[in-house]
Symmetry: C2
Subunit: 336 residues, 2 copies
């Protein structure tokens, strides 16, 4: 069933059918009804490719994330996808893993598919070396590019971020002023936001004249879901003679491992041992006591990202970088 069939059955030209389809220029009520009747009777829907060919857009946004099964990224995708649909856009999802080449390939793939914009979900798409970010800059030459939780200053790139530095800085200060001194910073990512968080921790420690070195910085390398492995990591620290009574984690999962560690050690939380998580995910309720964690307002970030993208697509001038504040949600793993 094509526009020709409809036009024939309705006794009008294809141009007229196209007009009622798009509500573009004016068509008499009478012909309009006639055409609509035929369209409905035959349940005709226009061919998206043909339309795309002419308009050169398919109202589709590409979403790229490293791992859609990551709790945080999954949530972000959920929000983004919903809000996109609310704006009459569809989304193509690509999960790339954490390899740079795969990321670049995904970006190119989406551009080939003629998406109207690309959203990079998660801070791991922006690297330290400028050269490694070239694929993002290049892509932005073709379509607007949105960064969630990362920032890069280049034409046609829009960054929406949470102020991870400040969140971590303040959370660390709070833990210190609650009397905890030997605080391990436990992290698993050196992405854009990963670095901001780390910097926040360091700034607070240094301001309080505490060393942020001597093994307190602990980078965990391994599956992002393997809590036992994370716990072992901390256990090994202890075995090596490191004495610590607080853990600030870059992620709730790591924090959960710290809870397990503390229990294994027989510490009581938060009296002997304090723990702070990040993301305020569903995991905060999974342990006992429940986890203090930083809420970085993911839904707000996503909402804003889509609003900005829609603005850009409409040809409006939009802010290149938007920063929201996080919030520390106090629960049972920290004193205050």
């Amino acid at each position: 069933m094509t526009i020709y069939d409809i036009s024939e059955k309705a006794g009008v030209s294809i141009a007229t059918v196209s007009r009622v389809l798009n509500g573009s220029s004016s068509v008499s009520e009478k012909t309009k009804k006639k055409v609509l009747d035929v369209i409905n009777r035959y349940e005709y829907t226009p061919n998206a490719f043909a339309r795309g060919l002419g308009l050169n857009t398919m109202k589709t946004i590409g979403i790229i994330c490293a791992d859609s099964s990551d709790l945080y990224l999954a949530k972000a995708i959920y929000y983004i996808e919903q809000k996109l649909r609310a704006n009459d856009y569809d989304s193509i999802l690509c999960c790339t893993g954490y390899d740079l080449d795969a990321k670049a390939a995904a970006v190119n793939l989406l551009i080939t598919k003629k998406v109207d914009g690309i959203i990079l979900v998660g801070s791991n798409f922006i690297y330290e070396e400028d050269a490694d970010n070239q694929y993002v800059v290049d892509a932005a030459a073709q379509v607007p590019l949105m960064l969630l939780n990362a920032a890069l200053d280049a034409p046609n790139i829009y960054s929406i971020i949470s102020d991870d530095f400040t969140s971590m800085y303040e959370a660390t200060l709070q833990m210190i002023s609650a009397g905890v001194r030997d605080i391990v910073y436990f992290y698993n990512s050196v992405s854009y936001s990963g670095k901001k968080k780390l910097a926040g921790y360091r700034a607070a420690m240094e301001e309080q004249k505490l060393s942020a070195e001597s093994g307190l910085l602990q980078f965990y390398q391994g599956s992002h879901e393997d809590i036992p492995a994370m716990t072992r990591h901390l256990m090994k620290l202890h075995d090596q003679g490191l004495n610590f009574h607080g853990v600030i984690a870059s992620d709730d999962t790591l924090a959960l491992a710290a809870v397990k560690y503390a229990k294994l050690m027989g510490y009581s939380i938060p009296q002997d041992f304090s723990i702070l998580g990040y993301n305020n995910s569903m995991l905060v309720n999974c342990c006992d006591p429940e986890l203090t964690s930083i809420d970085n307002k993911l839904e707000t970030l996503c909402q804003h990202l889509i609003t900005t993208l829609m603005g850009v697509l409409d040809g409006n001038e939009m802010p290149k970088k938007t920063v929201f504040s996080g919030e520390i949600i106090h629960r049972g793993t920290t004193r205050n």
Copy 2:
């Protein structure tokens, strides 16, 4: 930059360019190289719409799930998306929520977008009433339709499922034979697989001449992430005078709530209280002791789903229904 530009610059016809692009019929090495050089020099990529118009396919599969932030569904999406890409297909993702109309709308949207196939991820797409499944049957008239964790017998519909009935049946039997009698079945879904699980529990209870009634069947209605609310649900049961020393949950999240409940009650696990989860998700490591859970081999299911879909797309005869067995992974919340 179009195929015409390339053909001109390379001094050949557009047909030749098309041929080297698709590697269809033979082109002499020399012309091939000539064309490739031009293509690379100008970084030309063919227009996907135009190609789609001609071929009437864009090598894209639609994925529909209710909620991509659900731990289990997110993982499924991850596997599916990866395996799809490995087969040179992209995916359009739609998250519909749990409303029937929204699901039907998503299906239609994808068909309009000319996807080559649709994957319904999760058992909540198939309803008890035949009438409610009509949207699936209708869609299958247009494109092959894959069901993950649900089954429906109709033309062009392919179901890939885990044998939830047997898994639950055996797990329940094990718990009973370990001496637990008053076992609450704690569930939050009456979807296709939800019903199978429940039936497995009931069958085992009845076979052991135990009542599966009198409040032992507990349906939790509320956020799928709100563990405290789930815990309160169990607490209320206790307050109402129900005495129970085991929980079989349809989901790890619910099981986690049961762990919290048992601790609140001062029971020691698994001596006084046994708990079984489902999905073997990352949550099994989040509690202490770790959760015994049923692994339903999600990656295998997904792999098989894609293999089947690719077979169908290639025009091969493929099995309409494939059933895999789950496996009970014993950890600390059950005796045996």
